[in-house]
Amino acid sequence: MKNPYLPLLMRTEKVVVETDDRDIKTFSLSFVKKEDEGNFNYIPGQFAELSFFGKGEAPFGMASSPTQLGCLEFTVSKIGVVTTALHNMEAGEIVGLRGPLGNGYPLEALKGKNIVMIGGGFGFSTLRALTNFVLDEANRSRFGDISVIYGARRPGLLLYKDDFEKWGKRADLHLYLTVDSGDEEWVGRVGLVPQIIKEVAPSSENAYALVCGPPAMIKFTLPVIKELGFPPEKTLLSLEMKMKCGVGMCGRCNIGSKYVCRDGPVFSYAEILDLVSDEY
């Protein structure tokens, strides 16, 4: 019987500081035992429980695409006990990993469809994974138009700058970056994500909208994409909740009878619309 609580051992290969406040870092982790890598098959949108031994575990979406071999990437915001311990880590240190967990984005349903990805702030890591996945040579022809709308509070808080530079050069991806407020050097869009969606007005024809970001962004984004004609069935949300077990047993991440860890974290808006109102 597989023990879902035993972590795989991972070695920290690289740490990238993403933001100018140094509160968000991306960790590249390699498998200590090479055979673990072959058994670790994941899709974008899935997550894993990372553990810093002695401090505990916390769930993070995989920020890397499965097409990227050798390492898994996790983007971690320094906010609690486990994340602070992770942030203090240097290359070479060992962490634990349990996963892949959760359902991930519905790749079959997305086949042949145009995809509009909408992300805000720190809530972009699994959309970054999906973007890199669909842009991979072997996959690109299986998907339609790709649009990415991503915003942060200010330029220094934008994640994944290397990716944006690469994506910006591609003709087969529409990239719209925005900040809530700019600075002297910023020449791009200024405005909140929902406002930019309105301006860009991506077509809902044959398309899915994928939304991942802070609760306030999601709240004001949903009516905008509804107005653009995206039905709740084709509006996908990646949700967050406090989690422990990650496999639907410990009882805390539910919204109604759906467990975010087991039944999600990706839900269509239609799936969760009826479950509850503004409360959990």
Binding site: G56, G251, E279
Partner: protein, 342 residues
């Protein structure tokens, strides 16, 4: 169902011989409470009891248990899981409501994803229940699908008929336990006798809760302001969830000294604010109202969605032990009596 007869005077010698083969847990008096304790002789057990203060679920799902230990240096870590080899255990004298709760825990821990700690312990456990001839006023098993002599979750069920117990053999495990011990088969007359005892006990249990269509009605009342009123006196102590035989929520924590440590699982409670508090400071269940509602909805709606069974066996511990006298039956009936709920 096959049945045997065990004379009450033979129970002690049966237990003493079982103690040689199993770790036997039976109701025993400790510090003025009746608890399921490991006994080393039949004399330590106390079978004349109503129910244990703490539910015996802890024998399968302990209040704390080590998931694994680890030992680290700066660039390597070694993980060691417990061997899982334990002497077979026997729970003797569990009440049918608590035995029935194991069928729910089975669905949670032995479903699509398996919890190896629970599953191996459960496989290694024989459950012998004693039916309730004298249910209490706080018992409501019959209204939630059980009964004072329900056999669900048990391997053997003992029915007290005076000087002897009629033993219903529920499973192969139960049959093996009694094999070659020379107990007489129970004839039809004895089985007829148990029917009278069962009927009488069932009749003495109050109406409890109206479980028919309860889930659908609760789902419609999720946003009703009545929750605020119903939960006003709750102090969020969580005793209802700790003593509940079906509550199974847990936390996972690390306990370390230097670079060596243990990853431990402990019982947790949806009644605590920390249960869902996110590191960002956001808490989706910020007050007692949301947390109390989660407990009720989990048991009577979400469990039904997930496992097709109400997450309550009607043992009444949450009623008898609540420090502010909240009665789950009353709470449910208040919700059901709301206008417009059909």
């Amino acid at each position: 169902m096959k049945a045997k007869i065990i004379k009450k005077k033979d129970i002690a010698s049966l237990l003493d011989s079982l103690i040689k083969e199993y770790e036997v847990f039976a109701p025993a008096k400790r510090d003025g409470l009746v608890l399921f304790e490991r006994i080393s002789s039949a004399a330590e057990s106390s079978l004349d009891y109503i129910n244990s203060k703490i539910s015996p679920k802890q024998l399968l799902f302990p209040q704390t248990e080590t998931l694994f230990s680890y030992s680290s240096t700066r660039d390597s870590t070694e993980i060691k899981a417990p061997s899982g080899e334990e002497k077979p255990q026997l729970i003797f004298g569990i009440r049918p409501c608590d035995a029935r709760s194991l069928t729910l825990l089975d669905k949670v821990f032995d479903g699509e994803c398996k919890d190896p700690y629970y599953v191996s312990r459960r496989a290694n456990t024989v459950v012998v229940s004693i039916g309730c001839a004298r249910p209490q006023t706080t018992c409501f098993c019959t209204s939630v699908g059980g009964g004072p002599f329900s056999t669900e979750g048990s391997d053997l069920l003992l029915i007290d008929v005076g000087d002897e117990y009629i033993v219903q053999i529920v499973s192969d495990k139960g049959e093996r336990l009694l094999k070659e011990r020379g107990f007489e088969d129970a004839g039809e007359d004895k089985v007829a006798l148990t029917a009278i005892v069962i009927k009488k006990a069932e009749a003495s249990i109050g109406p409890g809760v109206e479980a028919d269509g309860l889930k659908e009605k609760l789902d419609k009342r999720f946003d009703d302001p009545i929750w605020q009123k119903l939960t006003e006196k709750c102090i969020g102590c969580g005793v209802c969830t700790y003593l509940c035989p079906t509550c199974h929520c847990f936390d996972i924590v690390d306990e370390a000294v230097g670079l060596d440590g243990l990853r431990i699982r402990t019982w947790d409670s949806c009644q605590f604010a920390m249960f869902t508090l996110q590191a960002s400071g956001l808490n989706p269940r910020p007050t007692v109202k949301e947390r109390f509602r989660q407990r009720i909805m989990h048991k009577f709606s979400y469990m039904v969605d997930d496992h097709d069974q109400i997450g309550c066996v009607g043992c009444g511990r949450c009623i008898t032990e609540c420090p502010v006298n909240l009665d789950i039956r009353q709470v449910l009936n208040n919700l059901l009596q709301l206008e417009g709920v059909k």
